[in-house]
Assembly symmetry: C2
């Protein structure tokens, strides 16, 4: 990613009018707007609380306001530079609370980036390795106190983060506070990641989507990972997990964090393993703890912790079709087996809570024993771990640590509901965060689809966040196209779930698009689409000429006959007619049908309706 | 499509060994087979009853047998030629029944192809316009009698078609007969389409997938349509609907029928409309009837008939978000409105039954008032029509005409189940055949996915056949890539539904693929995948070298650490252990954990499991 790219990302899809800042800040001022979509902000109770929205201005003069995850990159008036990082939006809020302190953090070490010697670093292209942005010191709860949104919510405080989210979700901020206080929702927001635009994960809110990025020992660079992050959020990712392994883990994460408008999650175990050169048995609580602190100081907002993979559960996976498929789960299982000891994560869980509470890092309790195949779904190993995750959830809450619970995996449709129902019961309604689930194993290269099916269903039934799956799942590392396909597929699943849950206002988006479709407003259809670029491209493939964008037909039926046109005729005759008159008309027509029958016409059966 | 292409389609994906005919005909003879997949046949009670299967030969010496829709094109020993057409497999079975007669059919007329004058035909490329294959006369039930599989089933006859299907679905042919006799399943098999390999559509059987093809007034040629048909069946389409409009409808259909190993469906109304130059009001029962006979003589296996769009229902659509979106539905609505008369299809339904019975054309009772947007789902217009379809179903059955019922459309997830439940109740469990449904309106260019979600769910709940949706839905006509994407997406939905229904043996496929995945048998994973080409391509994108195909790691984790390897270690230690011993081991480990706790280690909670 070049700096220029970051400043004006993918303008091809924006079609925005580069309106000046004062325009862009005004919500509801449709007059004078050119069509297309525009970044706008809704101001809260204070000038530094500005909630970004995506406004789609339609050709009929109306506007539709959509949730926006893309950050300042899509604001033509924002001055962004990936070498400087994003502005620390929340910094004043955090400082004003007066419960944190800056301190001299853990100094970065070569092994944080997987470097054993002082040899020159490899794998970095175009970007200098070390993030060049403003110097900063880490911050933590003064005296180790819990500086979490959960602690504040329990004390009855509506934080600026909660107010921001209330505006963003169009919901009373007091409801936001209640849901967080009850542990039914989390706001991942490390005090060392002030750049984020606050968001919430909980079943009362819009279903969220996480996108995984991360280099591996085999491929990819820092540059690509930063670009994947901005790319994923441009298409709608609500959070991003950096799952890097191999080299430059620390440095990659720093670049990603400083430039991310969304919460960043990690699996600290991956980096800890790199520090012991990939030898699981050499892991220890000390190395793990050091890694967690390193990452908490950088600003990681939530961490997957596989503390539910306990020694006694390991043999439960022996007769499985696909054993343990979670990397974190198998690392911990390997450690338990090698030492024949209980997991050090489980043993030190309470100490880990104390660390996370001091930075407001949210737990994502990992399902290390999730099923990796249809055959292994909902088995004893999986549900044994879930029971433990429930116990750990209770402990985390005692320490005021926000907590969500990870879920499977590979599950056939008829076994999906049991997963969310059990999780909600065992984990006291803590947010569920699932990977898919994939509803069949037979379609490598299409696992965004096999899993999108399961994701939509489990979202409907109460899962709060869906971890995307890309077409490369099981086969390779996703490239930029795969990331986009994964995000779009999961935005579909999440929105389908929002509709099915009856989320207030969710259907407005569908209605606006369907209105545009019915009225042949092609440009509005494209601009309202989840992916305007591809929708426009597909249309133009068959009917490329500009007049076709205003034509009252499309390539499916052609100009000679068009169902929408006939419907419009019907509406002209009957549309806007009050229901009573419509019923009368229907009755009249039924009478007419009966007269036909009486006159010898063959009408077989009475009209049922 | 060139002849050469047709003879050896897409060999890149086959990886088959061009084994000689005697090899290819033997089922279960794995020894000596090279890996990859091979066409094979299972013989029934007579030598001319050979059921094609796809055998995947694995590197571990095992073989997996899969349902195969691709026809003779994937049999290297078959001599196919699109100019000659496929061999008439069923001809002897039909003749042997002795209840049909050949007759001098309706002579083809220029207007069948949309040609008003004797001007040279346009739009035909590479192929000569008129199908050059063997001359044939149409066949129909002697004396107009019903020669339908329903009539035979009711008389207690197990036809060769039923036996074929029994072998194909691995189910007792008597069950096939019972389901057909009860009207819960249909076998679309026009006596004039002897080329097909019989298949069944019913909830007790594998969920089927239909692919739509068809040129329109705007674009595409005969050549492309024939190629799309073979292409769609290669990827798993169980039936194909030819929805051509514009020119060359008759000729296109002839080429498609003579070369299709799967049943072909049409919407005769489209061609009838062409015959009156697109003027709906000029349609008449006579023109429609003539078109149905024309198509029945050609061999169309099932026809969508929009007889449920009745005059009184038209005003019910006036206040809809998107009115009438079905082309057939809107044509009939336009006709009803123009004449202010009851639908001629409804009025003449009984006569239509008599025609269809004489050729064994299956009804697909169209849902002309299906919702075209989330807002219109499950509304009064839709369910009023469904009631009428139920009445028509009863009439059709009285005439021994096989019947299935079409369903929506655009439906949010929480309203899907009501559709199948009502349809099953109102239509006496006649097979449901749905388009999607699309679970949200916001994703043009991804409607294969928005609808794949709904399709999987409604398939699970009992829908017998799923009509695919391609990425071009709402935007343009699908090209070859779109057809493939649509078919693969719907094979995923159908298989996910088979798993959820607990269809016997459905999970074997998933298990075989997951075994291969666990054991790093990459070639087997590719060959077992729904789309081996793309799976292999995606793998090679990250790890192109040949050794990577046998490597015991993949690009996700890299060689240094691999979860599958750890699982294999666990299995080495515990695998194959009887459950009792495994339970003992778990108990032992629980004890060990307790000892840790007693020794001062922090174990917080008792083990729940």
């Amino acid at each position: 990613m070049t700096t220029a790219d970051a400043r004006t990302p993918a303008s091809s899809s924006d079609n925005n009018d580069k309106s000046d800042k004062s325009d862009a800040n005004t919500v509801g001022a449709e007059a004078g707007k050119s069509i297309g979509w525009h970044k706008a902000y809704v101001e809260g109770s204070r000038p530094d609380l500005r909630v970004p929205v995506r406004q789609v201005h339609l050709t009929n003069g109306k506007a539709v306001t959509l949730y926006d995850t893309s950050g300042p990159y899509t604001d033509p008036t924002a001055d962004t530079d990936v070498r400087r990082g994003l502005a620390p939006l929340r910094e004043n809020w955090i400082i004003a609370r007066g419960d944190t302190e800056e301190y001299t953090g853990r100094p970065p070490r070569p092994e944080d980036d997987g470097i054993k010697h002082t040899s020159p670093r490899g794998g970095l292209k175009n970007l200098d390795a070390v993030f060049p942005g403003r110097p900063r010191q880490p911050r933590r709860g003064r005296g180790g106190q819990a500086v979490t949104q959960l602690a504040y919510a329990r004390r009855g405080e509506i934080t600026p983060e909660m107010e921001f989210i209330g505006i963003r979700e169009n919901i009373d901020p007091e409801v936001v506070r209640e849901e967080v206080a009850a542990g039914r929702a989390v706001i991942p927001a490390n005090v060392n990641h002030p750049e984020i635009e606050p968001m919430i994960i909980g079943k009362r809110f819009l279903v969220k989507v996480n996108a995984n990025i991360g280099n591996s020992a085999v491929t990819s660079s820092i540059e690509e990972e930063v670009e994947k992050m901005t790319w994923a959020t441009k298409w709608g990712a609500d959070t991003v997990m950096d799952l890097s392994t191999g080299r430059n883990i620390h440095t990659t994460r720093e670049w990603v964090l400083r430039n991310s408008p969304v919460p960043i999650g990690t699996v600290p175990l991956y980096q800890a393993l790199e520090k012991v050169d990939g030898k699981a048995e050499e892991l220890s609580w000390e190395i793990y703890k050091d890694t967690v602190i390193e990452q908490a100081e950088q600003g990681v907002d939530y961490m997957t912790v596989h503390a539910g993979v306990r020694l006694p559960y390991v043999p439960l996976t022996a007769n499985r079709k696909t054993g343990i498929v979670s990397r974190g789960g198998s690392i911990m299982a390997a450690w338990c087996l090698a030492h024949h000891k209980e997991s050090f994560l489980y043993e030190h869980f309470e100490e880990l809570c104390e660390i996370l509470a001091a930075y407001d890092v949210t737990y994502s309790l990992g399902d290390g024993l999730r099923p990796g195949s249809i055959a292994d779904a909902n088995d004893r190993a999986q549900f044994a771990e879930l029971e433990t995750l429930g116990e750990l959830n209770t402990i985390a809450k005692r320490h005021n640590v926000q907590t969500m619970i990870e879920g499977p995996g590979h599950v056939p449709m008829h076994k999906i509901k049991e997963n969310i129902d059990l999780q909600q019961e065992i984990c006291e309604e803590a947010p569920f965060y699932t990977l898919g689930p994939l509803t069949t194993d037979i379609a490598p290269a299409y696992d965004h689809i096999t899993s999108g099916i399961g994701a939509a269903m489990i979202g409907w039934w109460g899962t709060a966040m869906l971890c995307y799956v890309t077409p490369k799942e099981h086969l390779g590392l996703p490239n930029k196209d795969d990331v986009k396909t994964g995000v779009i597929t999961y935005k579909i699943a999440a929105h389908a779930a929002d509709l099915a849950k009856g989320h207030p206002g969710a259907q407005d988006w569908d209605d606006a698009l369907s209105d545009a479709r019915f009225e042949f407003r092609w440009e509005d259809q494209f601009n309202l689409a989840l992916d305007p670029d591809t929708a426009r491209e597909f249309h133009d493939e068959t009917l490329p000429a500009e007049p076709a964008k205003t034509a009252h037909f499309c390539s499916m039926c052609g100009p000679k006959f068009c169902s929408m046109k006939i419907s419009q005729d019907i509406r002209r005759e009957h549309g806007g007619t009050p229901q009573a008159e419509l019923d009368e008309a229907v009755a009249g027509m039924e009478q007419k049908s009966k007269e036909f029958a009486a006159a010898g016409n063959r009408v077989y059966l009475p009209i049922a309706d």
